[in-house]
Amino acid sequence: MTGPNIYKPYLMKIGKITDEAPGVKTFRLLFQDEEKGKNFSFKAGQFGEYSVFGEGESTFCIASSPTHTGYIECTFRQAGRVTTALANKEEGDTIGFRGPYGNTFPLEDWEGKNLIYIAGGIALPPLRCVIWNSLDLRDKFKDITIIYGARAVADLVYKHELEEWEQRDDVKLITTVDPGGETLEWKGEIGFVPAVLEKEAPPCENTIAMICGPPIMIRLTLPVLDKLGFAPENIFTTLENRMKCGIGKCGRCNVGKYYVCKDGPVFTLAQLKELPPEY
C-alpha cells in the first residue's frame, strides 16, 4: 500500500443512547483511540459514514456541534439493514466511523446576521449541529429563530433540547405538528411548516435561512421564502443523496458534475437552481 487506506474507519464506542422518537435514536460516540479523538475536528454541516461491522455503512450528518468536543453524535431512524443493526446496538458496543466529509455551513460569513432554521421531522439533526454551534457563539449573531415541525408530537426529536430552546430568551422556537398529530397537552402550532412559516413571516433583511426536511416540505417551503423576499443565495439546505464512499469516488451521489459528498452536502438554493433535479 502506497498511502493510507482511505476506507478504514475509526473504531467508536457508543457512550450513550437516547431514544428520540419511535424508531429514532441518538448515539453519542467516543473515539476508542483517545489520541485520534483529541485530534479530530469538524465543522457544522459535515457528515460521516457510520458502520456496523458485518452489515455495512450508512451516511448521516454529524448531529452534535463542533463546539462540543470529546465526542460526536448521530441521530438516525431505523429504516434499512444498517440502521436496523445500529438500532440493536447497546451502550458500550463498538461501531465504525469515517469522516468528517463534505463541505460546511459558512457560519463565519454570517456574523451579525439573523439566522432562521426551518426543519421537518427527522431532518432536524443536520440543523441541530448548526443551531448549537450558533448558540454557543451567541454574541456573533442577531436574532435566532427555529421553526420545527413533525407529523405528530411523538415524532419530534430532541425533546429535551426543544424545551431548553423554548426557555431561552435569546432564541425563538416555534414547533408545529401536522393537523391530527397534536395531543391534548400540545401547546405548539398545528399546521404544516410552510403555513407556519408564512404566518410567522420573518423579515428577510440581513437573514440567512437554513432548511432541512422531506422533499415535499422543502418544495412547498421554498415558494414561501421567495414570497418573504429571501434571495436564493441566502437560503441553505443539505442534500442527502445516497452515498457509499463519501469521498468523491464511487459515483453514487453525482448530481450533474457535482459530487454531493465533496461539493456538498451544503448547497444554497441559488446553486441548486443550476443543478439537474436529481436529488
Binding site: 487506506n5 478504514k8 474507519p9 465504525g96 468523491g248 464511487c250 450533474g256 458534475k257 436529481e278
Partner: protein
C-alpha cells in the same frame, strides 16, 4: 518523439522469459470458449491469434470487480480491524488495444483527485502496458471519435504495431517502457523504414466529441433520452465491460467471527444505485439512468476533469442484449436539431 525499434516476432518468447525472470506476471488476451479475456500467460503461444477486441477489458488489473477494503474480527464486544496489506504483483499487460490503454487515465482522474485511492494507485504503479495497435477494426469501434486512434500511444509504455512481415514496430513511450527494453536490449533492433500508418485499421470519425459535450450542455430535458432507452433492460452489462466505468458499491460480508468490507463494481444503470432507504429515488426510471450514463461520460467528466469518460472501444454495444449501440445514439444526439 518516442524512440522506435524493431521487435522480431521470434523474439517475443525471449522477451516474455526476461519479463518473467524479472518477477513480472504477464497478462495477455486468451481465448476461452467463445470469449477472449486478459489472463496470465507464460508464452506468446498462449495468446489469442486473431482478435479485434477482447470481450472484457483489462480494468480488473488496477480495479478488481470485487476487492477487500479491510477485514475485521469480533472479540466479545470489541472489533479488531486488520488493515489490508496491498502488495500487488508487478504486471505487464501485453496486447492491450490503444483504446483500453487510454482508459487508465480516466480511472486515475477519479481515483486520484482529492482523496488518493492507494488500492488503485499501488496497482497502477506496478503495471506496465505493452500495447498493440489495431490492424483491424469493426463497426463498433469509434476510438477516433473520442480523441483516440488505432495507433494512439496514450497509456502504453511500449506500443507495438504489427508490420506486414509479422514483426513489430516498437515505440518506447515511457520510462517504464525503457525499463522493459533494458531487460532485453538485444531483442530490440534498429527501427525499420516502414510507415506505421500503413498498417493501422481505418476507424472513421463518427462524431466530434467536443461538439457532443457542447450539445449535452443543453440536452438534459430532451425527449430523445426516453426514446433511446425504451429497449434498455437495465442489466448493467455495458458498465461491466467498460474499461473506464468506475462507479462502485461498498458491502460487508461476515459471520459470527468476523468479516470483510468489500468494494464491488456497480452501475448507474441499476435502479438500486441511487435509491434512498425512504423509497425516494432521484433517478427512478431507466431513461434517467441512461441519460446519467451518457451525461457522466460526455458532459460531466469533461466539465469536471477535462477528460472524456469513453475511449470508443465499442464493448458496450457488442455486449448489449438489447442491441443498443452507443455510437449510433451519440450521433443521433449530435445530429438532433
Amino acid at each position: 518523439m518516442a524512440e522506435k525499434k524493431l521487435l522480431k516476432k521470434e523474439s517475443l518468447g525471449q522477451l516474455f522469459e526476461k519479463l518473467k525472470s524479472d518477477g513480472r506476471r504477464i497478462l495477455a488476451p486468451r481465448k476461452k470458449e467463445n470469449q477472449i479475456a486478459f489472463e496470465e500467460v507464460s508464452s506468446p503461444e498462449e495468446i489469442a491469434k486473431e482478435y479485434i477486441q477482447t470481450t472484457t477489458s483489462a480494468k480488473f488489473t488496477v480495479f478488481p470487480p470485487c476487492e477487500e477494503l479491510l477485514r475485521y474480527r469480533f472479540e466479545d464486544k470489541e472489533v479488531q480491524i486488520e488493515d489490508r496489506k496491498l502488495d500487488p504483483p508487478p504486471t505487464v499487460i501485453f496486447g492491450l488495444r490503444p483504446c483500453d490503454a487510454a482508459g487508465f487515465s480516466v480511472l486515475d482522474a477519479v481515483f486520484s483527485w482529492d482523496y488518493q485511492d492507494a488500492f488503485f494507485q499501488s496497482r497502477l504503479e506496478k503495471t506496465s502496458v505493452i500495447g498493440m495497435s489495431c490492424n483491424e477494426a469493426d463497426e463498433y469501434c469509434f476510438c477516433t471519435s473520442v480523441g483516440g486512434g488505432p495507433g494512439n500511444t496514450k497509456g502504453s509504455d511500449i506500443l507495438l504495431t504489427r508490420l506486414g512481415s509479422g514483426d513489430y514496430l516498437a515505440e518506447i513511450i515511457t520510462d517504464k517502457g525503457e525499463e522493459i527494453v533494458s531487460l532485453a536490449p538485444d531483442l530490440f533492433g534498429p527501427a525499420p523504414s516502414d510507415q506505421k500508418d500503413e498498417f493501422l485499421a481505418e476507424v472513421p470519425v463518427r462524431f466530434e466529441h467536443k461538439e457532443l459535450t457542447t450539445k449535452l450542455g443543453a440536452f438534459f430535458d430532451n425527449d430523445l433520452w426516453v426514446e433511446q432507452s425504451l429497449r434498455c433492460v437495465g442489466c448493467g452489462a455495458c458498465a461491466f465491460v467498460c474499461p473506464v466505468c468506475v462507479c462502485f458499491d461498498i458491502q460487508d460480508e461476515a459471520d459470527k467471527n468476523g468479516g470483510t468490507r468489500l468494494r464491488c463494481w456497480d452501475s448507474c444503470g441499476f435502479s438500486l444505485f441511487t435509491l434512498h432507504t425512504s423509497g425516494h429515488n432521484p433517478r427512478e426510471v431507466q431513461s434517467q439512468r441512461w441519460r446519467q450514463r451518457v451525461m457522466h461520460k460526455f458532459s460531466y467528466l469533461p466539465d469536471r476533469f477535462e477528460i472524456v469518460g469513453c475511449v470508443g472501444c465499442g464493448r458496450c454495444a457488442r455486449s448489449c442484449p438489447a442491441d443498443m449501440n452507443l455510437v449510433e445514439h451519440l450521433k443521433e444526439i449530435v445530429e438532433t436539431k
